[in-house]
């Protein structure tokens, strides 16, 4: 319908919805059910961090800088068991590789050719983690292209700031909790992961890898402590890949 009268003014209008307003809308959208689940998971992590001997600034720094719960949990485990810098970095890097394809899928969606600056993309890329990414991939296509980047920036900034604060509050409160409650908080992280990892894995290779990893993890922990995570990932992931590849397309 070419002659249909749009409610919003045509493109030569001087003040379309500004970036700042899109940011505010994104921040408001962050108040959501997935955000609550994520907050609960980080509250659980605060319990884990305290139990692992991390200080409050260390816990908060890890939350804000890493901002990917699997990597944070891997790093916490590495620090508390005294693993060296290099194996810890490799384990964390392996746990975060999935952020690369996720970012690659998001960027073309928010980029405005010739207008979007690289630093803006680098800034929003920090928020790429399961919760914000799933939300963005599902909702950004409904927004006008210029609004997507500020919207996602607002969403990510609000979500991260809120979770950051709640992690700190939870860390301070864990000590005064009865042991049953803080124990329940500890278990929140693994149960949350088992469920969300399963629902995030689209391919059969991911699901096979998860099951094999659950079995191999304790095995390597007992027989190859220190490098157990790397072995679990490499051996478990390769077995899962080969099995599902064989099922997909035969031996070659």
């Amino acid at each position: 319908m070419p002659d249909h009268q749009e409610i919003s003014p045509p493109e030569d209008h001087d003040a379309p919805v500004s970036g700042r307003i899109w940011m505010a809308r994104g921040a408001r959208a962050a108040i959501s059910i997935p955000a609550l689940i994520l907050t609960a998971a980080f509250v659980g992590y605060a319990g884990l961090a305290r139990g692992s001997g991390l200080s409050l600034p260390e816990t908060l720094m890890m939350t804000g800088l890493v901002w990917a719960l699997p990597s944070i949990v891997v790093l916490t485990g590495a620090i508390s068991s005294g693993v060296g810098l290099v194996p810890a970095a490799i384990a964390v890097a392996l746990a975060s590789v999935r952020l690369m394809p996720m970012t690659m899928a998001l960027i073309p969606m928010v980029k405005v050719e010739g207008k979007t600056k690289r630093w803006q993309l680098l800034y929003i890329s920090h928020f790429v983690a399961v919760t914000a990414w799933v939300y963005g991939m599902r909702n950004l296509p409904d927004l006008p292209r210029e609004g997507r980047l500020p919207f996602f920036a607002g969403f990510g900034t609000a979500l991260t700031s809120f979770v950051f604060c709640m992690t700190g509050v939870a860390y301070l409160m864990v000590e005064r909790m009865p042991p049953v409650l803080s124990g329940a908080l500890f278990l929140l992280t693994p149960i949350y992961f088992v469920c969300s990892l399963w629902s995030a894995s689209k391919l059969s290779a991911d699901k096979a890898a998860m099951i094999i990893g659950l079995i191999l993890g304790p095995f390597f922990y007992l027989y190859a402590p220190g490098l157990d995570l790397l072995w679990t990932g490499l051996v478990g992931g390769t077995i899962a890949y080969l099995i599902t590849r064989y099922m997909r397309r035969g031996l070659l």
Partner: protein, 114 residues
Amino acid sequence: MSDPWWWTYVMIIVAGWIATDIWRWIGVFAGGKLREDSELLIWVRAVATALVAGVIAKLILFPTGALEVTPVWLRVVAALGGFAVFFASRQKVVVGVVSGEVILITGWLLLEAV
């Protein structure tokens, strides 16, 4: 521990921040050049998933802190039960997590009462 106090921060910056954000940065620069369904990426994702699964299993079987006093079978039953309910509820993460927690807390309180 002979490590100085700042060592943990170095670990967080190098092994945490850089080791994680490097992938996001590469994602920004590579933007759309690598296919998401390439064999290499399928393998990489499988390795990453197995690694995180290994962490989960360790958290359940060899926990630190308050959970240490609970019997290992209770933690395994809580995790498996939570996952089973998650599965039965058409994969609702909240439902699974809450069920697992209910199993743990109920079992824990019952054991303490005995």
